[in-house]
């Protein structure tokens, strides 16, 4: 299932949180060889994790992490403005309607549908919170996976070469993209909404209609 958790809620799901940070170490440090820090617990964390970001996390039936991504609004500190401003032509991108998506991570054994499920979660965030654009930081080799699940980012620019190539791009979630991603994930819109509501509280209207 999908969980939407702010960093200050992760302690409620210690197994999920620990396996997310160790899977991130496995993906970004070991497999992709990005220059990231892995602490003594085998967890990959950076200083954006300390800014209480919102994570969208796929939880496997055993309570472990299957995949995740991290969101912060561009009105605060974000990687695209602090680390990669040159990829956006200099200056900064700032708006409460533009959120940054980073650390898109899949557990080594994650089923193909997990990536699609995460994208579906991204779509819920856009729809429910009025977000218009996601600016993402991702590994260029992930583009193939994104294309496979029907949600390709538009690459704005890339830094580095070979294994260390990091790209900045944009995601959009049109209704059509949403439907395609939902099919890939094999998750009904109703179930997706249920997971969202479980994390963010009762749905504003559906709850009322159910009582009527």
């Amino acid at each position: 299932m999908l969980r939407y958790l702010y960093a200050d809620q992760l302690h409620l799901f210690p197994r999920l949180a620990h396996s997310m940070f160790t899977d991130r170490a496995d993906q970004f440090a070991r497999r992709l060889e990005w220059p990231v820090n892995v602490d003594e617990n085998g967890e990959e964390r950076d200083h954006y994790d300390a800014l209480n970001p919102l994570y969208v996390i796929w939880e496997e039936p055993d309570g472990r992490h299957g995949g995740s991504m991290r969101f912060l609004p561009t009105t605060g500190r974000v990687m695209v403005n602090e680390v990669f401003p040159h990829l956006l032509g200099g200056g900064s991108v700032v708006s409460p309607l533009i959120w940054e998506c980073t650390r898109f991570c899949l557990a080594a054994k994650a089923a193909p549908r997990v990536a699609a499920a995460l994208m579906l979660g991204g779509g819920e965030i856009m729809k429910q919170f009025g977000v218009r654009h996601f600016v993402g930081v991702f590994d260029a080799r992930m583009v193939r996976i994104y294309r496979m699940i029907g949600s390709s980012p538009e690459v704005l620019g890339s830094d580095g070469t070979g294994r260390e190539q990091i790209s900045v791009g944009l995601w959009s979630f049109s209704e059509e993209a949403r439907r395609q991603v939902a099919r890939r994930a094999n998750i009904s819109p109703q179930l997706s909404r249920l997971w969202f509501d479980r994390s963010f509280g009762a749905p504003p209207v559906a709850q009322h209609m159910a009582l009527a």
């Binding site: 702010y6 200050d8 209480n52 919102l54 912060l72 609004p73 561009t74 009105t75 605060g76 956006l88 032509g89 200099g90 200056g91 900064s92 991108v93 700032v94 708006s95 409460p96 309607l97 533009i98 965030i125 429910q128 919170f129 009025g130 218009r132 654009h133 600016v135 538009e154 704005l156 944009l170 959009s172 509501d197 963010f200 509280g201 009762a202 749905p203 504003p204 209207v205 709850q207 009322h208």
Partner: protein, 239 residues
């Protein structure tokens, strides 16, 4: 749909505000233009000090302070440290103190529906902007659908102005347009269509939309036309 020219005029007033009293006039104007019962801007800093300006009755504002409701208000509790807008019905009103607080609020004229936008400012600054109204759930959902994004922008513009009044503030560089934002706004000001602008800058229309969105926020505007006018007015672009 609210009248965007009226709203732009209010944002112009906000732009020119030089004291906190001016924010009161602005918040009343915002309430009227969105046709809601109440609009409230509420600043809470890391030390727990608070400042508010809103259209709630003075009696309720006084009572909120004297009863120290900030500690039990589910809107504050549920939005603190968050950055997503919240329909009040998604908050946890189940505790006894929360229900009593709600009852007291209702008796003091607070509407049954709320939409609150948390804002994370610099150095632990936190603020909330709330639209409050009395209506049924479907009407309120519709209001958010139509006005949600405008309210999010207005919330941030209010906070940006409030931050300007802080004596210890660091100069705000957020207003600076990036080179591509300057290019985009300049071409739009020259009357180019979006597709022509995108083609001229060798970027996709999707990418262009991101630059326009960002420029619009930096300029304190709600739509592209107003953003272009501001950019010219501030002397940020030359046409």
């Amino acid at each position: 749909m609210v009248n965007s020219d009226n709203l732009d005029q209010i944002l112009g007033q906000l732009e020119r505000a030089t004291a906190l009293e001016d924010l009161f006039r602005v918040v009343y104007a915002i309430r009227d233009v969105f046709e809601i019962d109440h609009a409230v801007y509420h600043w809470v800093d890391a030390k727990g000090d608070q400042y508010g300006c809103g259209t709630y009755s003075q009696a309720w504002a006084d009572r909120y302070l004297s009863r120290n409701y900030i500690r039990v208000d589910p809107v504050i509790v549920g939005c603190f440290q968050r950055f997503h807008p919240v329909d009040w019905k998604r908050l946890d009103w189940s505790s006894k103190t929360a229900r009593e607080f709600l009852l007291d609020a209702r008796e003091h004229g607070v509407g049954n529906q709320g939409y609150s936008i948390p804002i994370r400012g610099p150095n632990g600054q936190f603020a909330l902007f709330t639209a409050n109204h009395t209506c049924d759930d479907a009407t309120w959902a519709q209001m958010q659908e139509v006005n949600g994004r405008d309210l999010i922008l207005v919330a941030h513009y209010m906070n940006r102005k409030a931050l300007e009044f802080e004596p210890s503030r660091t100069p705000d560089t957020a207003r600076q347009l990036s080179p591509r934002e300057v290019d985009a706004m300049t071409l739009l000001a020259m009357g180019y269509s979006r597709s022509q602008v995108a083609e001229s800058l060798s970027i996709s229309e999707h990418t262009l939309r991101v630059y326009i969105e960002s420029a619009r926020f930096k300029l304190g505007a709600l739509n592209t036309t107003h953003a272009v006018a501001r950019a010219i007015g501030f002397g940020l672009i030359v046409v």
